[in-house]
């Protein structure tokens, strides 16, 4: 029991709720799947219900939906131009999904789906895949100009192309690891400090007094984690916009 309480890794365990073995794969509906569904339901319900009155003068909730809409729309327009607005639903969905998933993860006993590398990597590959497919579809081989910036001396071209290719290939990794590692590390740290409070409190009056420090730390970290939850969703959306800009205007 005590082990469960203090084990900071326990929260990341995936438990199947409904077993669905298909072929050699385990496609079970797990707690992770449950929270994906929860994320989608919460985000959709909020966006849908808050805007259902279509008020000319927005209510508070409608204001939040409108602000997120304009926030992402401006972000995309600033970095990718008006041509980038065709990707607005994608960027907005990614932002809302990551944001709500991160925020839901802040509830005690809730599962944080973005703390699993496979989820963030899949989202990152969705972005990079969109960039590559749209880039080649729109510009054909001209998309490869992305790797050859303008105005560099001919002798440097191979080196620069190599660097550009490496930087392009590392994008999905950095995009996914950034989100994953932030959520994972944050939740582990939070759990460790909360665990200190629990284990110190079992040690009598001195321990209870001593547990104030990690408790204060845990409270501060909770605040920080809310910031990180928003910030990482924002960073994910901003980088998505910048990568999409490369697909739309590959010529730098």
């Amino acid at each position: 029991m005590a082990a469960d309480k203090v084990d900071p890794i326990h929260q990341f365990h995936i438990n199947p709720l409904i077993e669905i073995p298909v072929g050699g794969y385990d496609l079970s509906f797990t707690n992770s799947s449950l929270f994906m569904v929860a994320t989608v339901v919460v985000a959709s319900a909020f966006l849908y219900l808050s805007t259902s009155s279509r008020g000319l003068i927005p209510s508070r909730m409608q204001s939040i939906s409108e602000m997120s809409y304009e926030f992402i729309a401006n972000m995309l327009r600033d970095s990718a131009g008006t041509a980038g607005m065709k990707f607005f639903p994608l960027v907005f969905s990614l932002f809302m999904f990551v944001l709500v998933a991160n925020l839901l993860g802040m509830f005690p006993y809730f599962f944080t789906i973005t703390s699993h590398i496979i989820v963030t990597f899949a989202l990152a590959m969705l972005v990079i895949g969109t960039v590559i497919v749209y880039g080649f579809w729109k510009h054909g081989l001209g998309f490869l100009k992305l790797f050859v910036p303008h105005g560099i001396p001919g002798a440097l071209v191979p080196l620069v192309v190599l660097i550009e290719v490496i930087s392009f290939l590392s994008r999905p990794i950095s995009l996914s690891v950034r989100l994953f590692a932030n959520m994972l590390a944050g939740h582990i740290t939070l759990k460790v400090f909360a665990g200190f409070v629990a284990s110190l409190s079992t040690m009598g009056a001195l321990g209870v007094a001593g547990s104030i420090l990690p408790l204060a730390m845990a409270v501060a970290l909770t605040g920080l984690e809310f910031l990180v939850a928003f910030l990482q969703a924002y960073v994910f959306a901003v980088l998505t916009c910048m990568y999409l800009n490369d697909a739309i205007h590959p010529g730098h």
């Binding site: 005590a2 082990a3 203090v6 084990d7 900071p8 890794i9 326990h10 990341f12 365990h13 995936i14 199947p16 669905i20 794969y25 385990d26 496609l27 079970s28 509906f29 797990t30 992770s32 799947s33 994906m36 569904v37 989608v40 959709s44 966006l47 849908y48 805007t51 279509r54 008020g55 000319l56 927005p58 409608q62 939906s65 409108e66 809409y69 304009e70 607005f88 639903p89 907005f92 969905s93 809302m96 999904f97 789906i113 699993h116 590398i117 496979i118 989820v119 899949a122 989202l123 969705l126 994953f180 994972l184 582990i188 460790v192 665990g195 200190f196 284990s199 110190l200 079992t202 040690m203």
Partner: protein, 203 residues
């Protein structure tokens, strides 16, 4: 690789507690470390555990796909519509305000024009009245002056007549007086000599 620091972080404070704490706690933390170690050995670090990768990918694709479609088809057009309606409404209201302001400006201009006209008209009326009064006064003065002049001329003529008749009488009176003086002084008077003397004196 990620497992090791996480566990180091977790176990280090636990063993520190064990050293400083009482025996039951030490036993408990020891047991805990063991249990964690067991879990580690059994399942590995969950985020890197590939058992549920297919499940996570499948459910992510399903949920995110539905979320994307829902937002694209329902929510985003709706919010976009709300914002557009509001923008149109604001633009329309601003247009109306601008039009009303133009109307007000026109009304003010018309009012000022009318005021200026009225002022000019009143000035003209006053000027006319002044001119008419002046002309009348002039005419009256002229009449009075003419009549005065006529009377002056009359008076001068009468004075001249009176003077002339008076001057005509002066000779006779002087002769009479001189004759009377001479008679009372000398006793006799030569009328013709007196007349000659008077005439002599007068000329």
């Amino acid at each position: 690789m990620f497992v090791t620091p996480g566990y180091a972080q977790e176990t280090a404070p636990a063993s520190g507690d064990a050293h400083g704490g009482t025996t039951p706690v030490a036993a408990e933390t020891g047991a805990h470390t063991e249990a964690a170690g067991d879990a580690h050995g059994k399942a590995g670090f969950p985020p890197f555990e590939p058992t549920y990768f297919p499940s996570q990918l499948l459910w992510l694709a399903i949920t995110f796909g539905l979320f994307y479609l829902f937002l694209k088809k329902v929510v985003l057009p709706r919010i976009g519509n709300i914002l557009e309606v509001r923008r149109d409404r604001i633009a329309h209201d601003l247009d109306t305000a601008a039009r009303l302001k133009e109307d007000a400006d026109a009304a003010i201009a018309a009012y000022e024009q009318e005021l200026a006209d009225a002022r000019a008209k009143s000035n003209r009326i006053a000027q006319d009245a002044r001119d008419a009064a002046k002309a009348e006064a002039d005419a009256e003065r002229k009449v009075v002056e003419t009549s005065l002049n006529a009377r002056l001329v009359d008076a001068e003529a009468r004075i001249a007549t009176v003077r002339a008749s008076a001057m005509k009488d002066v000779g006779a009176i002087a002769e009479e007086t001189a004759t009377a003086i001479l008679q009372s002084l000398v006793g006799s008077a030569d009328k013709s000599a007196v007349a000659a003397a008077v005439k002599d004196q007068r000329s």
